[in-house]
């Protein structure tokens, strides 16, 4: 059953069990089935992932001069695993395709048909997104573990018991990332092409979150960086995997829930404003 199906909120209206989450579970499941057929295509994406990781293995191999050296508090293995984990999240979620879909729907006017269906459009998109990463993420996780153990070496002090907590943080991170990207896509109600803003957001995340852990930046910048979505979207979850501690986990979870709430409120606000504009001006 789908993710939402299990936890579906049940209400009793005149004796009929009314479950508003059910439809999203069905959407999720159909995308899941669809994507299962494309598993081979997804696997082709492994190539890009491998190239990226390969470059970083070589790069950090050059930067660390002596074995056991620490850079910004990370060993070489931790540093490479950090990149592998953040990249796994982005390759494994493909938020870009979902965001692109939203932008296209708005630009082509297709949204008028999707809007009039009895579901909330943004939740519909998020269900589809969840269906996509449910297939992709495990595939990339497996790939990362294989590359990591073969080419990098196992993580020091890795605790298998902490995996469920890490998984929760990763999933929350992916969802927050998608919510922010959707917000940017929703700008398409006002501007013709929102993709340049997506590039900037992506690059911000890439440069200051994916490639390096926050500790590598100048001390003065670090508190500032921890306030940005980067902390909840990639630094947090990846740091947790590389160097787990229960206190950090709670701290990250709290920040993620806060961010998710804010992001969702923002998303529905922008969406509502955009739709109103659509009604006024027509498609």
């Amino acid at each position: 059953m789908g993710k939402y199906g299990d936890k579906s909120v049940s209400m009793n209206i005149k004796g009929v069990r009314f479950r508003p989450w059910r439809k999203y579970a069905v959407i999720y499941r159909s995308v899941l089935m669809e994507n299962l057929q494309y598993a081979a295509n997804i696997a082709m994406g492994f190539f890009s992932y491998f190239v990226f990781i390969f470059i970083f293995i070589k790069l950090w191999g050059y930067m660390y001069r002596t074995p056991g050296e620490l850079i910004a508090g990370y060993t070489k293995e931790q540093m490479i695993w950090y990149v592998m984990m953040t990249e796994m999240m982005f390759f494994g979620s493909n938020a870009a395709s979902v965001a692109g879909e939203v932008a296209r729907d708005i630009r082509s006017g297709n949204i008028a048909y999707l809007m009039n269906k009895p579901y909330h459009y943004t939740l519909y998109i998020l269900s589809r997104y969840t269906g996509e990463w449910s297939i992709r993420l495990p595939m990339y996780a497996l790939l990362a573990v294989v590359i990591g153990t073969v080419m990098v070496g196992p993580l020091p002090h890795f605790r298998l018991t902490a995996v469920p907590a890490m998984a929760v943080c990763v999933v929350l991170g992916l969802t927050i990332h998608a919510v922010f990207k959707l917000c940017i896509s929703l700008f398409s109600f006002w501007i013709e092409d929102a993709t340049p803003f997506q590039w900037l957001y992506d690059k911000l995340i890439l440069v200051v979150g994916v490639m390096f852990p926050v500790e590598i930046f100048p001390k003065a910048l670090q508190p500032l960086l921890k306030m940005t979505p980067i902390y909840t979207v990639c630094y947090g979850p990846a740091k947790l995997i590389v160097d787990f501690s229960p206190e950090k986990c709670l701290e990250i979870l709290a920040a993620q829930i806060l961010y998710l709430t804010v992001g969702c409120v923002l998303m529905s606000l922008i969406y509502r404003k955009g739709v109103r504009k659509l009604y006024v001006n027509g498609g």
Partner: protein, 264 residues
């Protein structure tokens, strides 16, 4: 022969002009696309500033050499996507059987196809590359070398994409792989060759054409080396000829209808 070439050129220029006009229908979108691409590229400098804080050289490159590397990659990648954007989505064209409309025109099929679209954000890449190199004050000679190597780099990137795309005449799944291989090559091209050694270094020089497109040229710009210089020119020509030959071999297969499975 000469008039045929002249006529072909006239069609190409018109085609490019019309492509540009299409992209510039909305001026605001056009400008934001170009400007944001520049910003987008510039943000990567953060990575290098961080890395150079840790060590004085990365893979034997100084910061200035990294800027050359980036400038050349961005300019070559940009120019190839401005002029020959279709080479990079050739697979799609072949698999969907969209070559038909080029085949009924009395013009060179490959040239018509390659120049049939453009990518405006690539203008941002190109401008960024040129600006970056100018900022390093390469001197007149260095700048001309940079321009020349932008041309060879453009030829190499385009030929590489054309070669991979042409494989779609035989293998259906190439559409995904084409994009990935090209982007993979570009990723390698933005890192110094000094960090790779052994087999990976060999592969990057001879199979994935990064060494000849970017690394050798950077070495030549920094300090001239005749052997490397001619190796780059030779490699660019050889790869282009190979790519064109493979495309035409594939086109014969297309005309014999053996791709019907994909087209039906």
């Amino acid at each position: 022969m000469l008039t045929a070439a002249k006529n072909q050129l006239r069609v190409c220029l018109l085609s490019m002009k019309y492509n540009m006009m299409r992209e510039m229908v909305n001026k605001v979108t056009f400008l934001t696309n170009v400007c944001f691409m520049v910003l987008n590229n510039a943000s990567i400098l953060v990575q290098w500033i961080i890395l150079f804080r840790l060590r004085e050289d990365v893979g034997g490159y100084t910061f200035r050499e990294i800027l050359f590397l980036w400038g050349l990659t961005a300019a070559s990648f940009g120019l190839s996507h401005i002029l020959f954007a279709r080479a990079f989505s050739l697979s799609d064209l072949i698999i969907r059987g969209k070559l038909d409309s080029y085949l009924v025109q009395p013009k060179n099929v490959l040239v018509s196809v390659l120049t049939s679209s453009t990518d405006i954000s690539a203008i941002g890449d190109f401008l960024y590359g040129v600006a970056l190199v100018c900022a390093c004050r390469p001197g007149v000679g260095g700048f001309f070398l940079f321009l020349l190597f932008t041309v060879t780099g453009t030829a190499i990137f385009t030929a590489f994409a054309l070669l991979l795309g042409s494989l779609s005449f035989w293998f259906v799944r190439m559409d995904i792989l084409q994009g990935q291989m090209v982007m993979g090559a570009v990723s390698f091209a933005t890192y110094p060759d000094g960090i790779f050694e052994g087999i990976s270094r060999f592969l990057l020089y001879f199979i994935v054409p990064v060494g000849m497109a970017v690394w050798y040229p950077v070495h030549v710009i920094v300090s001239f080396h005749a052997g490397m210089f001619f190796a780059v020119l030779g490699y660019a020509c050889a790869l282009s000829v190979t790519a064109v030959a493979v495309f035409y071999r594939g086109l014969k297969r297309y005309a014999s209808g053996n791709l019907m499975e994909a087209r039906m």
